[in-house]
Symmetry: C2
Subunit: 332 residues, 2 copies
Amino acid sequence: MIIDCHGHFTTVPDAHKRYRQQQLAGESPEPAEIADDEIRAAIEQNQLRVMRERGSDLTIFSPQASAMEHHVPDPEIAAAWARACNDLIFRVTELFPASFAGVCQLPQTPDGNLGACVSELRRCVGELGFVGCNLNPDPSGGHWTSRPLTDESWFPLYDAMVELDVPAMIHVSASCNPNAHTLGAHYLNADTSVFMQLVEADLFDRYPTLRFVIPHGGGAVPYHWGRYRGLATRLERPPLDRLLDNVFFDTCVYHTPGIALLARVVPLENVLFASEMLGAVRGVNPETGSGWDDTKRYVDALDLPEEARRKVFEENARRVYPRLDTRLGQMV
Amino acid sequence: MIIDCHGHFTTVPDAHKRYRQQQLAGESPEPAEIADDEIRAAIEQNQLRVMRERGSDLTIFSPQASAMEHHVPDPEIAAAWARACNDLIFRVTELFPASFAGVCQLPQTPDGNLGACVSELRRCVGELGFVGCNLNPDPSGGHWTSRPLTDESWFPLYDAMVELDVPAMIHVSASCNPNAHTLGAHYLNADTSVFMQLVEADLFDRYPTLRFVIPHGGGAVPYHWGRYRGLATRLERPPLDRLLDNVFFDTCVYHTPGIALLARVVPLENVLFASEMLGAVRGVNPETGSGWDDTKRYVDALDLPEEARRKVFEENARRVYPRLDTRLGQMV
């Protein structure tokens, strides 16, 4: 089967967006009442249609990343918003259990308080059957006022992730900084910054089973793999290989040369198929007639041996998200 | 000939570093008195030795980037420090005129005031024979408190650059933000952010002859070339080609797959040979026995046709830095 590890619910019904507007307007709204048919329509006409067209079977699905808006400082708003977004993802996974598995948004705030995040993670994994979470390394939204992900202030979340055996995808939200465009800079910069944070510290000595998926093909990292190898040596850090039990990259790189580079420099055990559709880069490459984010075409073009192909398309995701593996086993 | 467009004086005599320490300690020191022999030794044992070993002929040379420290807010300190650093570069270009051409540090400060920068640029180009400048898009040092490079607050500098016909290399200085390691994240993120700023705006409609060199192989940009092409369409911006009269990438990517990708996706007219030695990534790749930053080996491995090779190694640099071309013509 083909598992896409990176999809967001970017096509939510309007009522859910209105709920958010009311929240931000200072009202105390109740989450929108949305009928099953509305959710079905939103999914069937969008993500599920594209999955069928392109031939992927299951998407690891989470709330819209740019709409997480962790820069909003009110913890109650953050908690209610994450809960409403995650409940919507849950309903998608109930309506289409063979096609979607849930990953949750955490109610992060710029103050870095993680108590509510741990609670929401436990709820989503324990009660809603989710298989992972998205973790924002910059809740400030482009001002980078928090501590690096290797700082002990993050450890309560890692304790819960390890206990629950779920990975996090590293994913910032919208940029509030005009220097860094959300989709064209902030997302990629965050991926790059976090990888280097992990090079600099010994987080995985303390958490040997903690797992992070760095999306968007790892930001700038694979393109600069030699730079990182050299820096690790110069900084007297362990070789990059030492990170590879814990750090994984997705294939959200939207052209063949990029995917080819990723597959050439990063061991294929650490590459998870993903497209992030319908996401940052919609539309069609006029030269090929295919969607920019139709990453399956780029991976297919690699002509990988069948064993490697299975890893990238399925087995790595099952290994990194063991609760997905269990979920799929229960469906057989 | 082989021109390396990106080298910094990272091996300055200790007296110059002491001068900086005195400055930052609040003293009002005079720039260090450094003998010609000290400068000769610093260069001959380091940059010039490596240039000879690797077979490059001329380096476009500027003060150490991480030591620019534009985050220090005092404009007088910034002006004196830039002047002292640039004067040292000038002496290198006088002692080794066939091997080095100067690019200046600007006395930027986080308040964004550019008056002193324009003056120092005029001094360095007009009096010292420099051929370009380094421009820091984030004088705050990793907090990104300034305006994007497309904002009109930067225009006084661009007016002077266009008048003098000199390009800028986009280059941040040390990161003061623990989230972004200077060499492993901040440099690359700045390259990425600035490219996207240029995608978002119409700067070159106003300044059709303004030229920027984006170093470190363009940060994440070439690896994500498809993403940027798709984003440009989605944002209803012109195709990326429209930037290519004004935006150039260097070859500071420290492994063969990265350089191969750069040469595959970016037209070779827009690729300038560079190594940034002795810079971020010193040391030797144990697998190849060559320096990580020996980028000539990676470019040689591309087996480019002679015409393309000449562009990357020489002609593009002469075109982007016309004052270098003039300088070289005067030496014949």
